[in-house]
Structure formats: structure tokens, C-alpha cells
Amino acid sequence: MAYALQQLINGLTLGSMYGLIAIGYTMVYGIIGMINFAHGDIFMVSAFIAVTAFTLLAAADVSSIPLALTFVLIVSIFFTSAYGWAVERIAYRPLRGSTRLAPLISAIGMSIFLQNTVQLTQGARVKPIPPVIEGGFEVWSTPDFTVQVGWSQLLIIVITVIMMFAFTWLITQTPFGRQQRSCEQDRTMASLLGINVDRTISFTFMLGASLAAVAGVMVTVYYGVIDFYIGFLAGIKAFTAAVLGGIGSLPGAMLGGLLIGLIESFWSAYLWAEYKDVATFAILCLVLMLRPSGLLGRPEVEKV
């Protein structure tokens, strides 16, 4: 029981991170209907920015953790959203209105490009930083197992919840959210009604990138080791999460992320860890067979 609880906490932490990245996929998909394969690499770039920022702080002898975290988050969000913007501007905007597959290939190219840029400019070696937040607390102690929650795990879950609420508010309550939703439903009509579609799309990419940046900072804090390759797996998992939850739906992305995190940790807890990705994809296939548009996705009714 205690063991299961520990695995639950592990799963939630991992799932929160998948969820944060998945929201980026889902928002971009919602608005321009494309899979932004470079999103995982945007996340990777953000982790590198975070490492640089943390190292700078360490050099400047900043010891207050909240201060350091806030600084790193702001820096990382700023630069990462610049990357999100630039990727959209360079690789996707010229392709708007062409076939569905063109931006997909361009995105794959962008992903390879970003990965190699980082490898060249930052080096192929892994980047470790010393633990930022150490320690944790015991939740429950049984004779044969002690459940421990790290402060950093708690931080990740709390920040994810905050981000979730902030985003729901942003999308449902603000003028930007309205523009974003209207572009999602009918881009032509939205532009006829005076909404600057280009700007809305750019902003969506920047928002997606900001969330990836938050995830990037969290990864740096929690795992402490990053390399230029982390974007690939995280991207695929997060994309799977977005589809599982129903692509285009924000709560769906979060739910999908959490589910995948939980599936992974419970599968490796009780069954064979080496087949955990098979389990993830098999469950995805099953869910899609029963609900072709994901768990919380709006069923796609083709008007005949």
C-alpha cells in the first residue's frame, strides 16, 4: 500500500510534466491543426536556458531558493517563448494554407535542426546542476516501506496546478482567450471580424513554449541532468498524452499527461519495466478504438 502510494506520487510528478508539455501540443493543434513536432525540442532548449540561468545564479552567490526559481522561470519563459515565436514564424507561417503534411515535415526538420544547434553550441555532454531543492518529508511510514515526497516533487505538482488554473482563466476569461478560441473554430471568419489571426497564432505558440519552459525548469530542478536529446522522448510522450486526452482540449492534455505518467510508473512498479512503452501505446490504441477522438476530445462529426 505504501509502495503504491509512493508510485502514485512518482506517477503524478512525471505526469504533471508530460501534461505541461502536452498543453503546448494541444493548443497549437487546436488553432492551426498541425502537430508541432518541434515542441519537444523547444522544451529541451528551455531546459538548457534554465541550466545556464541556474549556473549564473550560483556564480552570483544567490542562495534564496524562491528568488532563484522566480528568476530562472522568468528568464526561461522569456527566451523560450522567443524560440516558440521564431519557430512558428520561420517554419510554419509560410506554409499556412498548404497541404496538411507540409508543416509536419517542416516541424520534423525544425526538430532536427534545434537538436543539432544545441549540440553544437552547448556541447554533446550532459549538463548536470547540483540539486536546487533538497530533501523532502515522510508521508507515511510502514515497517517495510517509507513513503517520501521530495520538496521538488511537491513543487512540480503545485506549479502544474497553478499553471492549469491560470491557463483555463486565460483561455476562458480574457480577450486573448476569446480571440484564440474564435481562431480555433473558424480562422477566416475570425479575420473577417477584425481579429489579427497571425498575431493570435504567434501568441499561441509563445504560450505553448512558455509552458514548455516551465516544464523545462521543473525538469532541471527535479532531475538535475539534461542533454540535447531529452526533447525527443518527452515530445513523443507528451504528444501521446495530448492525443489520449483528446487533442485540442486543455483539460484533456493534462489528464492524458497524468494518465501516461501513472501508467508508466505503475506498469514498471508491478510488471516488466522494459515493456512500459508498449503498455502506453497499447492503451492509447485501445482508448482511440473505443473513443476515436480521445478521452475528452469533442467527437468529430463529419457534416455530410
Partner: protein, 443 residues
Amino acid sequence: MSTVVFARHQVTATERFRDAGWVAFVALILGIPLIGLTTVDGGGALEVETRFGVLAIFVVVSFVGRLGLRWLIDTMGARKLERLRDDSNKSAGISPVKVVNILGWIALGASIALPIMYSDNRYVVDTATTVLIYVMLGWGLNVVVGLAGLLDLGYVAFYAVGAYSYALLSTQYGWGFWEALPVSGGLAATFGILLGYPILRLRGDYLAIVTLGFGEIIRIILVNWTEFSNGPNGISSIPRPSLFGLDFTRSPAEGEQTFASFFGIEYSPMHRLIFLYYLILVLALLTHAFVSRLRKLPIGRAWEALREDEIACQAMGMNTTNIKLSAFAIGAMLGGFAGMFFAARQGFISPESFTFTESAIILAIVVLGGMGSQMGVVLAATLLVLIPEFGRNFSEYRMLLFGAAMVLIMVWKPSGLLSHREPTLRLSRGGAAINDAVKEAAQ
């Protein structure tokens, strides 16, 4: 219709500079964290190193590059307009179809002559063989994605099935290349149907992720099921194909003859390489003939119709389930053949050769080439294989160039390098009269 307005806003120098300045500013922002700053290992902990010199160069290059690019685009645009203006009364020169056809024949001639011209150059023959493998894979995937419009991100699974089935049949049961060929293809096709069946209801991107997952599942199973596939160690010593029983070895096996001894020539390892090259060339040409023929048959037209409008297909009484499955099966079978050849040529396979990146590259070949265009696949495969090979001389920038090239080609030609679609059949009549008629009707 109204007349086309040819006039265009003239860009002033100030605007150009402002535009380039903006680009340079963005370059600066993007450059600071990745170029301007870097972390290096300073004995147990990271230290930040600054490279503002390099950053400055990067920003200046962006500025100048943008100015140049803008100027180039504008001049090209102006020239294009010029040409449009000239052409608006005349008809176009040679049709693109003819050009592609001529190119096709040239490419065929070149590919037949290549090993003769480079008969002592392993590298060229071998790289050309790689190109042809990708061409074949591209043609196979073209059936699924280009013709039937089903987005498949896990095509490498069938490639793996083909490769492993030959590897296992030959190393475990002593089958030869030619006996195993139909079996490998058949197995891959079966997998195509097995994958296709449960996911027929899925559309577009949902299909994409499930196929991606399928590709990964196959790879993970190959890695983990050691008893079956020898896991990550892969399978080595896979026998090479023979030419009607003639092996390409230095010394013949008991009671057999080698290629060299049969023809009474001196043994050279190049013989096998050239043989493999011609083998894949023949396989690829057969694939081409097969797919081109299918395209002109009811099944091929049904695939294209499916890509265009699934609902309308149903309304015409077409069984879309069967059509989709046949596309999956035939695409998978061709992938299986290519995989089998790959195994025979490498002599060694391991799950590392069947990753998602491979699927992505094959898909990129189809899309860059122009969906559904057979010649486009050839062009794109050649480019995508040769770009990283060129890069070998500046090895670190190799994959960087590759990624950048994918983005640039797509932005430059969003519908692919050769996007012209040739009708599968024509009503035998001239073209000019129709053009006039359409214009008349459009007014």
C-alpha cells in the same frame, strides 16, 4: 473575372533596413542563451562561459543575410512578374510532365551507368545503393500516404518486419534470398493488415500517433524479446544474395562456384557491391512499374479518391475498409521487400536501424518529393541521402544542415519538389480547346 493587378508596392531602402534590423534583433534574443552563453564543465561543477564575439558575428550575419535574402526575393519576384506579363498572351513552353519524363529517363540511364563508371569506388556504389533503398521505401510509403492519404508515422515497422523475417529465415532455417523474398513481403503485408484493421476508424492525426506507436511497439519487442530477435545485439552474419547460385565470395564453398570463378575473372569485393546495386535497382524499378500500374487500375484510383474524399467514396459504393487495408498491405509489402534487401546488404541488423527517425525520414521523402509523385520520391531520396553525405566533410554540421534543408525545401515548395499530378487516363482529345472552353465557362 477581373484583370490581374501587376503593380506592386516598391520597397524602400529604409524599410529594408528596418526589416533586417528586426531580424537581427530577433537573432540577438535567440542567440543570447544558446550562442552568447554556454556552460562548461569546470571540474565538478558547471561554469558559464561567454562568447559574445560569436554572438556578434551571428547577429551581423543575420542582418546582412536578411538584407541579401530580401533583395533576392524582390528581384526574383519582379522577374517572375515580368515573365508573367510576357507570358500572359503566350502559352507556356514545354509541359512539366515532359520535363519530368525526360529527367526520369536520364536518371535511369545514369543509374544503370553509375557502377560501370565508378566500378572501383565502393563509396559511390554503396551510397547509390542507399539512395535506392530509400527510393524504394519512398515508393512504398507513397502508396499509403501519397495516394491513399493515410498518414503513417510508423512505416519503419514493416521495414523491420521484412528485415527480421529474412534475417531469421536465413540464419535459422538456411533459406536463400530468393525463397525468402515472397515470405518476407507476405509477412510485412500481413502486419500491414493487422495494424490497419483496428484503426480504420481513426482519422488524420489520430492515425498518425497510433502508427507511430505501432512502430515503437515493434521496435521495443525486437529489443526485448531476446530469444526471438537476439535483442539489442541484433542478428549478424546474414547471408548475401547470390546470382543464380553463384556466390560473391573469395573462395567457393565445397562443390560450388563463385561468381568470379564461373566467369573466370579475378575476385574483387566490388563485384558483390555492384551486384547488390543492380539488384536493388531492379527491385526498385519493379516497384515503380508495379505502383505506376496499380495507380492506373481501379484500386489505385480508389486510393486517390479515398485521399480526396472518404464520404464521397462511400456514397459511390466503395468499400473504404478494403481500400484502406489494401493500401496498408501493399505499402507494407514494399517496405518489407526493402527491409529484406537492407538486411541482405548490411549482413547485420539490430533494432537501432528501425527507429522513429527512420520513419520520419521516409515520410519526409514522400512529402518533399510531392505527395503521390513517383519521380518526386527519387529526387527527394537523392537529396536527403546526399545532404548528410556531403556534410561528412564538415561532420558536426551534417545533421544541422539536414534539418535546415528540410525546413527550407518545405517553405520554398510547400507542395513538394514535383507536385504535378498526371491523370491516370485521358479522354483522347487535344488540350488547347479545353483550356479555351474552361476560360469561357469561368467568365
